[in-house]
Amino acid sequence: MKKDLSIDFLGVHCENPFFLSSSPVCNNAEQISKAFDAGWAGIFYKTVGIEGMNECSPRFDIISNEPSSWTGFKNMEQISELPLEKNVIEIKKLKESYPTKVIGVSIMGSNEEEWRTLAKAVTEAGADIIELNFSCPQMTSHDMGADVGQSPELVEKYTRAVVESTHLPVVAKMTPNITKMSVPAIAAAKGGAKSVSAINTIKSLTNLDLDNLTGKPVVNGKSSVSGYSGNAAKPIALRFITELAQCEELKDLELSGMGGIETWQDAIEFILLGCRNLQVTTSVMQYGYRIVDDLISGLSHYMDERGVDRLEELVGIAVDNIVPSEDLDRSFMIIPTVDMDKCLGCGRCYISCYDGSHQAIEWDSQNRKPIILEDKCVGCHLCLNVCPVSNCITPEKVVYKDGKDHTDKEVVQQLVYQ
């Protein structure tokens, strides 16, 4: 099934919300052509600078829990390895071959003059949108990247320089290496940006090499802090997106979300939190452009099941349900129950409850069965989360802390546990 997933982003019509983010997955015209043919609606061309980069080798490391799957990914690559003039040729080629696809181009300068030069060049090359890279955490120059994104003054100044040099809509890409993302985002808006995109990668050291006594990847005996991404980064991305979506001063800006999108469910989460546009890299590096098939199909089925005809209707509808922790209803506990027909008798719930929560599960060692002690259970649901069997431990009854029966009250609960 393919529904109409089209949506406008910054006044540009996009056949679906799925874009490749500025990264190794959109490095040149030949490579990007394959992505367009696979079904991606648009791209943010890998950040264009004045000069091409000199990269280290190797440059990646992973965090994984299964042999064939990464959950987190560290990369040390900087911006485009090509100089401006070569990238301009690539962008022109792409725009000619794919007139209906959306070409966003990411740029990064080290001073106002460079930002202006880049903005003019990519505008002339035929870009539809310009994204300002204020957020790459592994630049070799401290006048560029995340160091700039942490300074509201520089963000505003450089955004203004670009906006004055182009008629195209401008997106400012934010760094998560900051406490409050709304500060530089507001600065970008003041400078004239029509959108912010988030998150770029998180500064990280994924693993140490215990032989060479340095980080991974090992570059001739040394390593550096650099950007972390992938599905493991999604929770951090969603948190920043929510902050931006809830910020009053940013109400007029459109959001482009990224950070760990791998499945259609991940994608919808960003949409529900206010993103009109989605960007993906790490899962494409791992699995290829073909993942867009299931992003499109899964999103279509979800819309069909919910009776939603236009993607627009989903944008931002979860934003108001994320509230400060002081506003949560703390009047009740939901006590779980164990389905003894499904229970394997592994005892994982017992161990976790005893060592990690409130000693509210008794272990019947004779029969290898857990018994939930309702008077000690606080309804934390740690047991439910460690149980290896689907729907074996499930939430059962709502108990009010005041001891009273509130039959008139309905407690909204999670419907599906997998």
Partner: protein, 403 residues
């Protein structure tokens, strides 16, 4: 290979993966470029695509891919000899064991069934055309589905009271529960395919159909049992396996008094007959065949299934006589090479020594102006092969509509 024999003859369903198990299995998949598994399927199912969809949590997409390609996707998930087809081609065989493709297919089609999903729809490409399909078995069903999806008005004729052919009347329910067959058939009903049941088509009627319809497909299978031309073969108590299996559902009470059963044959039908006797409570069961154990045509999985049920599989013995007075009492065998002999007591003998097409339909194979497929053409192959032939015939038929 570990197979767990069921203890029930008619289970509600065959045990399936839940979401978590399916995700774990799907994440074992190497997600190969130009995946070899897809070349292992006769009917062109692309397991790599639906496994990838499961891997990316798109169960709807997975079920849709399966259903679009194979109208019997739920049945094939259970009864395909995966270990000879897609799973044999799996790249993961080079690391440890292949992805359990059949189990993942079952997971997706069970989701489709439980959520009552409808993925197929009709276009009007060939609306106004009408086709008759003779036989309601796999080949015919597959042909009908392909045509119907393109808007053709299809009517299926079958002599049985319910559609499904071998799926319903030969493959026993512990391997393929009726709910699963019904689920596949319901997809055809949703497409608007009509069924004319209890209707045995004659040669004369077939001629009329050629006039009445824009196309006729014949896939009437192999329902005529072969017999053994040895002394005593006309004694009572000797049944063809096809009759035994097709009546097992309705006669299962009386089957508990089968007594000592001797089954003759080394194919899947023999294995199915033996396991059915076991599940229905026969006193003792021996399955005897002329081939060696490794060359007996049944799949490894089927042999293991019977073996784990405790059914003795006796290889390389040829039946030479049925002994008894009116009713069979013993069967005499001779070893195929060394001349040793064996006699087994038998209250019931089940002959699973092959099947053929009924005489009248035999001539239809060469008849002009009709399309054919399935067991009657290939002599008796897998369900998925019949699906492939039915689809192929539908494609050829649609080409003639364009002429």
């Amino acid at each position: 290979m570990v197979v767990n024999p069921t203890v029930e003859y008619e289970p509600e369903q065959v045990e399936a993966f839940d979401f978590r198990m399916a995700m774990e299995e799907a994440s074992r998949c190497l997600l190969c470029e130009d995946a070899p598994c897809k070349y292992g399927c006769p009917s062109g199912t692309a397991p790599d695509q639906f496994i990838r969809s499961i891997r990316f949590k798109n169960v709807n997409g997975a079920a849709e891919i399966i259903r679009e390609n194979n109208i019997l996707g739920a049945s094939c998930a259970l009864i395909c000899p995966h270990e000879k087809l897609c799973e044999a081609a799996c790249s993961r065989c080079g690391i440890d064991s292949p992805i359990q493709i059949g189990k993942l297919q079952q997971f997706a089609t069970e989701y489709e069934r439980k959520m009552d999903k409808t993925y197929l729809s009709q276009t009007d490409t060939y609306s106004g055309k009408s086709v008759a399909c003779i036989g309601a078995g796999p080949a015919s069903l597959a042909c009908a589905a392909e045509l119907s999806k393109q808007g053709v008005d299809v009517t299926i004729f079958d002599e049985h009271s319910q559609p499904g052919g071998m799926l319903r009347y030969e493959i026993p329910p512990y391997r393929l529960p009726e709910t699963v067959v019904d689920h596949d058939i319901s997809q055809l009903e949703k497409l608007g395919v009509k069924f004319e049941l209890n209707h045995k088509v004659t040669s004369e009627e077939l001629e009329q159909m050629k006039e009445k319809y824009d196309g006729v497909f014949v896939g009437v299978g192999t329902w005529e049992a072969k017999t053994l031309n040895i002394p005593g073969s006309n004694l009572d108590g000797i049944f063809p396996a096809i009759d035994f299996l097709s009546k097992a559902r309705e006669n299962k009470e009386s089957y508990s008094s089968l007594g000592n059963v001797v089954i003759i044959g080394g194919g899947d039908v023999a294995m199915d007959s033996a396991a059915t006797c076991k599940l229905l409570g026969a006193d003792s069961i021996y399955d005897v065949f002329v081939e060696s154990l490794e060359h007996a045509p049944a799949t490894q999985k089927e042999k293991m299934y019977d073996f784990q049920m405790g059914i003795p599989l006796i290889s390389e013995f040829m039946p030479v006589a049925f002994i008894g007075d009116e009713k069979v009492e013993r069967v005499r065998f001779e070893h195929v090479t060394n001349g040793s002999t064996m006699e087994l007591e038998a209250d019931t003998v089940i002959l699973a020594v092959g099947q053929t097409t009924r005489d009248e339909a035999e001539a239809w194979k060469q008849a002009a102006g009709i399309f054919t497929g399935g067991d009657m053409v290939n002599g008796g192959d897998t369900v998925v092969q019949a699906v492939a032939e039915g689809k192929e015939a539908a494609a050829k038929m649609m080409n003639t509509f364009n002429e």
